[in-house]
Symmetry: C2
Subunit: 440 residues, 2 copies
Amino acid sequence: MSTAAPHSTGQDRLWSVDEHLEDVLTAIRPLEPIELHLLDAQGCVLVEDVTVPVSLPPFDNSSMDGYAVRVADIAGASEEFPAALEVVGDVAAGQAGRLHVGPGQAARIMTGAPLPPGAEAVVPVEWTDGGLGEGPVDGMRARSLAPEGATGHVRVHRPAEARAHVRAQGSDVRAGDRALEAGTVLGPPQIALLAAIGRGTVRVRPRPRVVVLSTGSELVQPGEELADGQIYDSNSFALTAAARDAGAIAYRVGAVADDADTLRSTVDDQLVRADLMVTTGGVSVGAYDVVKEALAHAGDEDEPGSGVEFRKLAMQPGKPQGFGTIGPDHIPLLALPGNPVSSYVSFELFVRPAIRTLMGLTDVHRPTTRATLGADRALTSPRGRRQFLRGSYADGTVRPVGGAGSHLVAALAHADALIVVPEDAESVEPGDEVEVVLLG
Amino acid sequence: MSTAAPHSTGQDRLWSVDEHLEDVLTAIRPLEPIELHLLDAQGCVLVEDVTVPVSLPPFDNSSMDGYAVRVADIAGASEEFPAALEVVGDVAAGQAGRLHVGPGQAARIMTGAPLPPGAEAVVPVEWTDGGLGEGPVDGMRARSLAPEGATGHVRVHRPAEARAHVRAQGSDVRAGDRALEAGTVLGPPQIALLAAIGRGTVRVRPRPRVVVLSTGSELVQPGEELADGQIYDSNSFALTAAARDAGAIAYRVGAVADDADTLRSTVDDQLVRADLMVTTGGVSVGAYDVVKEALAHAGDEDEPGSGVEFRKLAMQPGKPQGFGTIGPDHIPLLALPGNPVSSYVSFELFVRPAIRTLMGLTDVHRPTTRATLGADRALTSPRGRRQFLRGSYADGTVRPVGGAGSHLVAALAHADALIVVPEDAESVEPGDEVEVVLLG
């Protein structure tokens, strides 16, 4: 047994942020689509072109509460010389055409109700006496309180053209039209349209199930007492929240102690509910870095390319990272560093795009912008590393929040952006233009 | 019994959009705060100033995997003339200080482990021979595989200053500092900070429970067969999705038939799980407008100002609206028109701000911007009404999607903005500047 430090291809060199990201996104495929009920599909990506099966509206119907009439009967009508029509009954929404409107007749009609045969237009109730024999009214009496409104006579005070206040069948969408294209993200208006055309279920890529597992014997759950040398587990909470925020269904697995067997069996247990696994901690060069120890050789030996590879990235924070697949189903696993800010930045750069790729989204990255650095002094950065500093962005200017120390979780909570200092820069001066990742 | 159409104060005049909105938001109070587990509080508004109970980090600790040493012992060390130190053991993260580092000694230390008494600095393992007696190494062997690494001797190849690679106690936050202020919305980074300082629960305003109830005897659930005169219920789906999108826990109650008793008993049943009720349909001037019939007199007679008032708004779409409170707990209720586009626009303008007010957010409205109208011809609008047209916004230009008909749910699904045509405008020309509500 060699006593030298372990080596593997990926460990021998420094990976750039872009190389690592490309490696992750190349390996991850969108989840297989499933048929979901409409409200379960909210936020998901449609994988079918949806065609309109029935024209909308499905029948000519009234856009007003009023009277369905024949145009000739009300030609020239005015308040002084109203047209008196016989009311043959009510047409309410949801009632099929039992009435016929003949010459000299009108049907009282409600918004959305089908235009009855014989009728050519609708006059709003406000253009009539509402059947009361007095002046214009501003509404109808409830049918349940005044059933006599559906009979008798009505006086119409204004003429109307054919099709007035009638919504024509198919005037919104026609049967056979494309309602939504594959790739559409289903928000409330898209769900409205799908429901309106009668789709109770749709074929979408489901939300990925992401298991977030923090590791570290020093970690105590919030709310409990800290003993000497212990700190609180924040990563499992932060990344579970961040995974949900990215669109995933996230499961938090609280801190696993630094023991390779325990970790491996916990990971194996969780695989059944994971489309993606994220671990924090245990990925660096220490003697107790059990994620590395437990997972570095966890691939399927019959499957080339499986297993988790640990590597060093040319970035700060977040230098040590692991990525690969695990278990018989080759579930992708990202092993992030344990420091809270390192893990959070790593999540934003690598895990969030991975989750959104699983969802089938094409726009997987946080938006970036260029901004002027507003700072009291220059920001320094180690050459050859892409540095991500916490910042606060507003109106084209970004200001650093807190220092460069990767443990500044307090600063992170007051930041809304990451300031990017590229690999070839060792300092950025106040007033310089910098790239900014907007954390939204 | 009078046979005249019903009248009330609010019905006699046309309300402006702003008057109605103000009336709604003045009546709605943020929900009472409750103590929630951290991950249940995601997206909620904090109502307490959170103070740091324990400094972070809680103890001086190592920022690297390496060796904890005394500075004098490694002064002048180089690869050619290394300092040889006796390794007295390991300090792993989570271990309290059992070791003491004396002159000529070093403790192997892991990232995050407490700096042991006697030690003044940490040298990274890469600056040493890792105890192997050869050249520099790039990592440690796992403790479980090579326990001898915690004993023997290590050669250090570089000097270090006092406190090098040591994260000082309290360098992130200090006990007594303000961690987060009341009013903060809890996203992933804020949850990270709260967990890090040991808070397992926090006091926040809960997500409002919103019951969405569609009405209409013509409505059929998507997936079922349409009979003559029927259409699919889309409002209950669209507004449930929109309520969730606004931050609420939303419950959908499928179409209730146009019968006042049925509606009233359904509403009464649902009150127990509602912080806010939203109905669609049945609010206009028709004889079957049962929401109006059932709820117009549903106030508590002992409580002035309770009950639902129905009114006409100077807007298009969305003219008929109801607002008030209902039941013994005076649950706010917004009664929206039944047309899908009218109800959706009404939701965006009135219900979404109401939900966000219940959450305790200060920023309750959709963002608006000014944009140039890109269109082939002028948009027309009735004088005295504020019109909201569906639009598609990009790079300072907004283009209408579909027409002005309030039934164009297909157009809504392809819009991402509302174009606002103000009350005093009857037309807007291509190239004119218009106000735009961004639906995000």
